[in-house]
Symmetry: C2
């Protein structure tokens, strides 16, 4: 069993209106030290072992479903969970 | 200047319908090894130095705006960015 953390972020060149809205909210609350906010997705997957290497499976899932690779980047961390 | 990464996740006891929808999509694509999916938010903040310690500022922003602490947990990582 693996615990996989996937981070999906907008590419640098893509505007982030949601992040801008949060930045403006923070400024209106007097957190003027915040100069930029970017918002992405964070996914935690539990994956059973299978014949295929888990890296390969996760990469394929990211490309096919979890990230829109036209406008988003992704990265992931895999850790093997101890059986309980 | 600090780069701060904030992870906001649903508390364990809270149902995650969005995560379930993604899990079912993955199963329909034959990724049957995926046993659980939880979806959260991932924020990257750029924060200028100020009088207050950055940990204190980030914690307060999380409690007041970025996370809904009734149903969400948050954690964050702070790294000092090298001036460019």
């Amino acid at each position: 069993m693996y615990k996989v953390k996937v981070f999906v972020t907008l590419r640098e060149s893509v505007l982030d209106p949601q992040g801008n809205a949060v930045k403006h909210s923070l400024h209106s609350m007097n957190y003027n030290e915040v100069s930029d906010v970017r918002i992405g997705k964070y996914l935690e997957l539990s994956i059973e072992k299978s014949e295929r290497p888990v890296e390969e499976v996760v990469k394929e899932m990211c490309e096919r479903l979890l990230a829109n690779v036209v406008i988003e980047d992704y990265r992931f961390e895999i850790e093997e969970a101890v059986a309980q």
